[in-house]
Symmetry: C2
Subunit: 329 residues, 2 copies
């Protein structure tokens, strides 16, 4: 017998989700729709990402972190466009493992992140499924009219940057599956990053001011840079040795025999939720000042060239990449 | 082996979904986000509904009709608020039965309804799931500033109306499961209504002009009228004998021994996607004229009273309703 009675979808909305509702626009989650007044001089920016158990998160992941990951992968999309998030709609497809305590945990995760990232629930749907749990969020934000940062603005001569560190999502998944041998503290840090990535929302303003093109790294750094290059009609050259690694990733890397292969794995692994972007060289110092103010690591990893595709280099040599983008199975 | 290779999520977007994209605001589905300019004097109205295979549609339902049902249940929500839809975000959680031909069929269903209802795709996500297929849509529309019709405006003395016919969604599900014995043409009509309900988008303007409170009938007429009564702080009285039935539903009804029980089943069955609403008596003739112009059946089924709850009557006698709202299992 499932732990949640079917009639509890209403209770889930009334008791768990309604307290998260946007005080005005969410209409108490009692009216099928959300109502968002137009904001003068602004465009609405909208993104929608879904997570499926067994594909994007593990059956052993606590549901509060699943909720936070769901919100954060969407926040990451908006941050990379330079937009300011304000609210979201949520679809929960609860599986049988999602009884009342699990639903409560899920909502507590959302509540924490609503405070941290300044967003509120606008509406959505909650249903049961006989299959694995899945969830989707439609996240909304504002951008000053016509000011959004796309994928298509990179020009030859621009520099290529990435925020934070690369490869931890991929390592974190392997750590969560107990496939890595590292000190417990390192493993815990990697699992934490996999479960609860850090969207770079605070850096969105800097992206808006200084980036020529940007996207968030979800499918793997090299694959995503390929998307940016294609959209911009340019080529990119990146130096594998400049890849920013966390202490935990560095510890893993130090145990690898083949440095190039290890770095390639980190740069194609996906689930990073950092911002990869290009900027004119004249903007570099302003970007670094802003990153420093936010205590955010910012690494220059390459340069935009005429041509097409992503050319990966390691200590002056070309590196062949057979698997540029990671795709969820 | 699944019929769709994992890398085909990109191909699904590029080859199947991108042609459906809103020419400006969807950004070719190539930039993670949609961008919607504010519209002066208007509020944005947003709704999100999900469908799960085995819960809201059957594994035997063709995927073009699943796509249409998904879009239409969301269109129905907006119509009941008096809002004008323009676009949607889509999350597809494809199961293993969703190979390329099935995905193509799904998209063809969307394409047909985009033309019929004047909406375009804005963005979304497409992922694979080891479980049953599920889909969600976030639908957006415009309403003149401050003009939305809520659930809370009904007053004693208002009349209660419903569009179209009631109970066909419930009968249609039973027909699709081969649980009904009726002429083939009747069965086909019921199945068609279950698979492809008719959202009353054309009637949205009349709702906006004349209704005091409104909602779409998805959980069952009596249960949904209960929501409206509670939100408005009033009671409703409805006459079961005035329930509008289709020819197919009438044929089923004629074979029932217990008229009250049969009508109660139709009025609690759910999946109708008609609009139930209240209006001041002075608006009735204008509403009837507008319905006639649209060849839409409009039936007065009751009256708003002081008090609370829904009082169901049949030929002057009270009818006890034990199961006011139908909840998807």
């Amino acid at each position: 017998m499932p732990a949640v009675d079917v009639a509890d979808e209403f209770e889930t909305i009334r008791r768990l989700l309604a307290p998260l509702a946007h005080p005005e626009w969410g209409r108490g989650l009692a009216d099928d729709v959300a109502l968002i007044p137009s904001r003068k001089g602004h465009d609405l920016v909208v993104t929608k990402d879904a997570l499926v158990e067994g594909v994007h998160f593990l059956a052993t992941d606590p549901l509060d972190t699943v909720a936070q990951k769901l919100l954060r992968v969407n926040l990451s999309d908006l941050a990379a466009k330079g937009a300011e998030p304000f609210g979201y709609l949520l679809a929960c497809h609860w599986s049988e493992r999602c009884g009342w305590p699990e639903r409560k945990a899920f909502v507590e995760g959302l509540a924490r992140d609503q405070v941290e990232f300044g967003v509120a629930l606008l509406g959505g749907d909650t249903v049961s499924t006989p299959g694995p749990a899945s969830f989707s969020i439609t996240l909304m934000g504002w951008a000053a009219k016509g000011r959004i940062v796309g994928r298509a603005g990179a020009q030859p001569g621009d520099l290529v940057f990435v925020t934070g560190t690369v490869g931890e999502g991929w390592l974190g998944l392997r750590a969560a599956r107990e496939l890595l041998h590292l000190e417990p503290a390192r493993l815990a840090a990697l699992v934490e990053h996999y479960r609860r990535p850090l969207p770079r929302t605070a850096f969105a303003t800097a992206i808006l001011e200084h980036a020529s093109a940007a996207l968030d790294v979800s499918d793997g750094l090299i694959g995503d840079l390929g998307h940016l290059a294609r959209a911009s009609g340019v080529g990119l050259e990146m130096q594998l040795e400049s890849l920013p690694l966390s202490l935990a990733a560095q510890a893993w890397f130090d145990g690898r025999a083949d440095a190039v292969q290890a770095l390639s794995q980190l740069a194609t692994g996906g689930d990073d939720y950092e911002i990869a972007f290009t900027a004119r060289p004249g903007h570099e110092s302003a970007l670094r000042r802003e990153a420093e103010r936010l205590h955010l690591r910012l690494t220059r990893i390459g340069e935009v060239k005429a041509g097409e595709g992503v050319r990966v280099r390691y200590r002056g040599e070309d590196v062949p990449i057979s698997r540029p983008g990671w795709v969820h199975s």
